[in-house]
């Protein structure tokens, strides 16, 4: 299983094409919020951009916190979400260490499912699907950041 990484975020120009693509293709929305990846400025446009994105935790605290089984652990990191089981309690977003889960006005959660559809829409090649074994290898080496 691969996971979505942001190895070259310093190249980001803030076009939001990735978020808009995720919302459009995965969640059938027109949005820059209702998406698994969301771009935020890090202190104004002068300072560049950061992506709010699932870190592919394993074990995932959001899955552990979910009281209804809507979130389950995904093999290789991250989670699988069954929206039909979700009661909009927001516990997943509360425990996420990376602020990666967006709750819309109705409390519906949006989190990256590591499908990689957004990658092709980044004009500056900021995003990349990374192999699970690479992730594990990197995580075993202290101080290496994806």
């Amino acid at each position: 299983m691969k996971i979505l990484g942001t190895p070259r975020m310093e190249r980001c120009i803030g076009c939001h094409s990735c978020s808009l693509a995720c919302a459009r293709l995965v969640h059938k929305k027109l949005s820059w919020d209702s998406a698994g990846i969301r771009i935020r400025s890090t202190g104004g446009l002068s300072s560049g951009f950061d992506a709010a994105l699932c870190m592919a935790c394993e074990p995932a605290p959001c899955a552990a916190a979910c009281p209804t089984g809507a979130y389950t652990q995904r093999k290789g990191g991250g989670v699988t979400v069954k929206k039909k089981l979700c009661i909009r309690c927001g516990a997943c977003a509360t425990v996420c260490p990376a602020d990666a889960i967006y709750l819309d006005h109705s409390g519906e959660p949006f989190v990256c499912i590591h499908c990689g559809l957004c990658v092709a829409f980044c004009p500056h090649d900021c995003l990349e699907m990374v192999d699970e074994t690479t992730v594990m290898a990197l995580r075993s080496r202290k101080g290496v950041v994806l």
């Binding site: 120009i13 803030g14 076009c15 939001h16 094409s17 808009l20 919302a23 459009r24 293709l25 059938k28 929305k29 027109l30 949005s31 820059w32 919020d33 209702s34 969301r38 771009i39 935020r40 400025s41 890090t42 202190g43 104004g44 446009l45 002068s46 560049g48 951009f49 819309d104 006005h105 829409f121 004009p123 500056h124």
Partner: protein, 585 residues
């Protein structure tokens, strides 16, 4: 949100209350330029001064905003402090998507707040905050403070003014998200007059996509065209500053207050030099993968012991022409320093640069002196211009206050109207010849973007008045359709009328999609009608003598040709402005 009406938030700063209005007319006025004209027609006060607090300040997006790439602009409309007539100014940044996700087709601001204020709007927010502590602060500092005070980083847009807007300068811009602007014709002073230091737009709603596969397929197709073909290379690579060397090479770059059309020592301010020496990174408007925003850097030594600070400054062809070639400041870093000073003041850099070029020549000719300019102005003297830009922003004395109303206004008092490089407003960066001069002088926005007159000059050696004027009219019509969607004009080669029709069909505006030709004609006429109702007389426009004396690449200006162009175009504009409204579908 797809709907066959316009959802407009009208905010009265005097009462602090807003009202959501559902306004019919989507199929007749589309959005953007069309919607702004419709709203001004209903809410504007044509016979009253721009300073009347009840005059509306309008921000409008279009039916395709956010749905397709490069549909990323906002039309700002108001009665202009520059000429006290109806005007549009266009800007990007995150403002277009923020308005879309605030679920507003337009935001209309009327009234005057009791004290300096900041308006915050969103899909579930309307608040007018006290902002007295921001008054007097630069556009940059104001942005920094509002970023800290507001939530929603990355998904909000912050519009603000600097001291120039507070001081009523007709050259005051509205800064958008640090690096973009509603630059021209004094929108910043309209905000200042309303005691409105800033507007924060929170884009915090989401919408369901249009049903069916048509939309997704068309998006993919357009996105591929815009990102994988070479058509946007110019904007993505060196950006618009590529024009500096090109225009200089064909003797079409306005230099030293248009005393020349090329500069021998241009190498210090070409697009190539800016990229090689100053370019830090690129940026983009939200919803645009092209990334045409070029950010250079300047560093400032603030202490002898090698202590520096640095700033990021956006640059483009027009700012480089105005603060570089026109002032004979021929070093990229010096130009960036001037641009940054203008940014802080909240000044339109084009108007400020061209007005200071006039002031420099007026100094040379002895019409004004240091008594007026406070610093001795001399072509090439960047340090003096840095001080002068600040004086202009702060309206430091009567001279700078008057210069802030436009070079021709200052020339009325001090003389020198012959060499004021004003074509409706301070000129754009093209000295291509007769068609461009007439196009900007009479054009709706007095902008090089109203129609491609600069391109016509370069492509047509002949002097066919009828052909040239028809080109200007038809090109304006095509562009007004784009600015009603609201597209960035850089995408004009992609978004032809048939493609726009496909886009509108794909998102569900089928009736509008079938009637684009009458819609664009209707909007074009309506804008001219309003412009004339607010006092514009195309026949009375005077093109200063400098534009007749300058020698562009084709040789000396043909006065008969230019006069004939002006008369014919003025008549066409009058015809459009008095045309009966084309029937609504």
């Amino acid at each position: 949100m797809i709907r066959d009406y316009f959802r407009v938030l009208k905010v009265d700063l005097a009462t602090g209350k807003g009202q959501i209005q559902e306004i019919e007319g989507r199929n007749s006025w589309a959005g953007g330029s069309g919607l702004a004209a419709l709203l001004f027609d209903r809410m504007g006060l044509p016979g009253r001064s721009w300073e009347d607090p009840d005059q509306p300040l309008i921000f409008a997006i279009g039916p395709l905003t956010g749905y397709f790439p490069l549909m990323s602009k906002v039309v700002c409309a108001f009665k202009s402090p520059y000429h006290d007539q109806y005007a549009e100014s266009h800007g990007g940044g995150r403002s277009a998507l923020a308005l879309r996700f605030a679920d507003l087709d337009a935001l209309v601001i009327t009234g005057r707040a009791r004290g300096p204020s900041c308006l915050v709007v969103g899909s579930r927010t309307l608040e007018i905050k006290d902002a007295h502590y921001l008054w007097g602060r630069s556009a940059m500092k104001t942005g920094q403070m509002l970023r800290t005070m507001s939530g929603g980083a990355g998904h909000r847009s912050i519009l603000r003014i600097g001291p120039a807007g507070e001081n009523g300068s007709a050259m005051a811009c509205i800064n958008v998200d640090t690096h973009r602007h509603f630059g021209r014709l004094g929108g910043g002073a309209v905000m200042g007059n309303k005691n409105l230091k800033a507007v924060v737009i929170m884009g915090d709603a989401s919408f369901d996509l249009p049903v069916g596969k048509e939309y997704g397929k068309l998006f993919q197709n357009l996105y591929s065209q815009l990102t994988t073909t070479s058509m946007m290379d110019k904007y993505h690579n060196l950006g618009t500053p590529i024009n500096v060397a090109v225009l200089n090479g064909i003797q079409a770059l306005p230099c030293r207050n248009l005393q020349a059309t090329s500069e021998e020592d241009i190498s210090g301010i070409t697009g190539e030099t800016f990229a090689d020496r100053t370019l830090l990174r690129n940026g983009a408007c939200a919803g645009c993968p092209v990334g045409c925003i070029h950010l250079g850097f300047v560093r400032e030594k603030f202490h002898e012991k090698n202590q520096y600070i640095y700033h990021q400054v956006p640059y483009d062809h027009e700012p480089i022409f105005a603060m570089g070639a026109m002032l004979e400041v021929l070093d990229a870093f010096e130009v960036l320093t001037l641009l940054e000073t203008a940014e802080k003041m909240g000044l339109d850099v084009m108007s400020a640069g061209v007005a200071l070029a006039w002031a420099t020549e007026a100094t040379e000719k002895g019409l004004i002196s240091e008594k007026e300019t406070l610093v001795p102005l001399k072509f090439g003297d960047e340090r003096a211009y840095e001080a002068a830009v600040r004086h202009l922003g702060y309206a430091a004395n009567d001279f700078y206050r008057m210069l802030g109303q436009g070079a021709l206004k200052a020339a009325e008092k001090y003389g020198g109207s012959d060499f004021a490089c004003v074509l409706g407003q301070e000129m754009g960066g093209y000295a291509t010849g007769e068609v461009f001069f007439v196009s900007q002088a009479l054009g709706f926005r007095h902008s090089h973007l109203d129609a491609g007159g600069y391109s016509y000059d370069q492509k047509h050696a002949g002097k066919d008045v009828g052909h040239a004027v028809e080109f200007l009219v038809q090109d304006e019509k095509a562009r007004v359709l784009l600015t009603s969607m609201v597209s960035c004009l850089f995408a004009r080669e992609v978004y032809k009328e048939t493609v726009l029709s496909d886009c509108l069909n794909a998102v569900g505006y089928r009736s509008l999609a079938e009637n684009l030709a009458p819609v664009s004609g209707r909007i074009q006429s309506k804008r001219w009608q309003i412009r004339m109702k607010t006092g514009f007389d195309p026949a009375s426009v005077k093109i200063p003598a400098r534009f007749r004396q300058v020698v562009p690449w084709k040789g000396p200006i043909d006065m008969d040709y230019m006069d004939s162009l002006q008369q014919t175009y003025a008549q066409k504009i009058r015809d459009m402005g008095t045309m009966e409204e084309i029937g609504t579908p």
